[in-house]
Symmetry: C2
Subunit: 217 residues, 2 copies
DNA sequence: CGGATAAATGACTCAGCAGTCAAGAATGGC
DNA sequence: GCCATTCTTGACTGCTGAGTCATTTATCCG
């Protein structure tokens, strides 16, 4: 063997590719611009990816897979400490949005369809995953008696998923890191009122007070 | 003058263009496919549009303008008949979704970003318009004392707009016309619980009962 | 009917760009 | 130092498809 390949090559190409894809979208992105930005020749691109689309797929699939790992299932039915649960949910949603924020370039691209119809299914499936997770939480809360029982869980889960979706869209367009915790706490409040029984809503408010008291000490 | 131009030409081209754009998106759509479907020559396209993009713009701008006409402002502050208002809002939202349904091809295309970044701003602006309308309704309801006063109107309007947005996305993908009235009534219920005071929620439920009683007679 | 005028056609031009590959550069082993 | 080997390069090929325009076709009018 001779001339070992530059180990930074692929990483640098992926980084440059991400930037160019975010800037122009998949179709308009030119391979030559990617390689130029990575300080390499055009041919080097094809040493690591069989096509422009494959590079895109690698970037996007990695991201989507990691986003999928943020779904959080409801506990089995039965008595639970709601305050612990609320804190966990809030933290989990903050983590998720922090991740979205850190990857706002590609996420924004995907959310605005920059990845051509060929890859649109990835977001659609992801959104569906989140919607289904929300639906399971709803059914869980209805069974627990803390959520209203007269809801169409399918439709309401769609509405809630859409609410978070639009928040994600906004966050991802921001130039300065927004107050994610503040936003997401307000969203929890919104959800609690939208789907909770009057008793749960009262409990929710006191739990939030507790949470904030502990936090400020 | 001689040889008057075929008056159906432009209309047929637009119809064909719409179909091809919906099928492939703006970038992947081929002018020749459009003209073939319209049963005309490639050159005829350029007698009516200066470019592929212009045809797309005509289709999309018309649609977006008409969608913009569905925004409905809250009344001036003061006493109102909430039941009349509720009925009006429900009917207006049904009209809107009926329109989305009828134009589901292009709407779906736009919502999934098929119109390239160049035209994405049209949807973004439209969504913003709807969000702002919702925000004005929220502030109106808060001033009227029928909505909770502890809400971040900006954030909650974003959430509600997102909820309707995701419903629109679903409707537009459907193959059979869904029960729009049923869905939208459930959405009204969702909104009432999410943002209403306990008193308003109670009133809302009785108004809905009235509405449904009258409807079934 | 036949000349004038304007619409319609589709073969052609040309630019852009993905992907290739022969030539050249770098490295390891001896 | 020199050869074998593998990596790297970028000029080149080929294709796709937008937009053009000389030619053909249809209509009007005297």
């Amino acid at each position: 063997m001779a001339r070992p390949q530059d180990p930074r090559a692929k990483i640098e190409l992926l980084k440059a590719a991400e930037a160019v894809f975010v800037e122009h979208g998949l179709e308009r992105a030119r391979v030559e611009e990617i390689t130029t930005r990575a300080g390499r020749s055009k041919g080097s691109f094809y040493l690591h990816f069989s096509s422009k689309e494959e590079a895109f797929r690698q970037i996007v699939e990695t991201l989507v897979a990691r986003l999928g790992s943020f779904v959080d299932e409801p506990p089995p039915p039965g008595p639970v400490d709601l305050e612990v649960l609320l804190r966990r949910q809030l933290e989990r949603s903050i983590e998720t949005f922090e991740f979205l924020w850190m990857n706002r370039g590609v996420v924004g691209l995907l959310m605005s369809g920059g990845g051509s119809a060929e890859f649109g299914y990835l977001i659609v499936e992801l959104e569906q995953q989140y919607r289904q997770m929300i639906e399971r939480w709803l059914r869980w809360g209805m069974a627990q008696g803390i959520y209203r029982n007269d809801m169409d869980a399918d439709l309401i889960s769609l509405a809630l998923a859409g609410a978070y979706d639009s928040l994600a869209r906004r966050v991802v367009k921001e130039t300065k890191r927004p107050d994610l915790r503040g936003m997401l706490l307000e969203m929890e409040r919104f959800v609690a009122h939208a789907v909770g029984t009057p008793e749960y809503i009262a409990q929710f408010d006191s739990m939030v007070n507790n949470l904030e008291r502990k936090r400020n000490s």
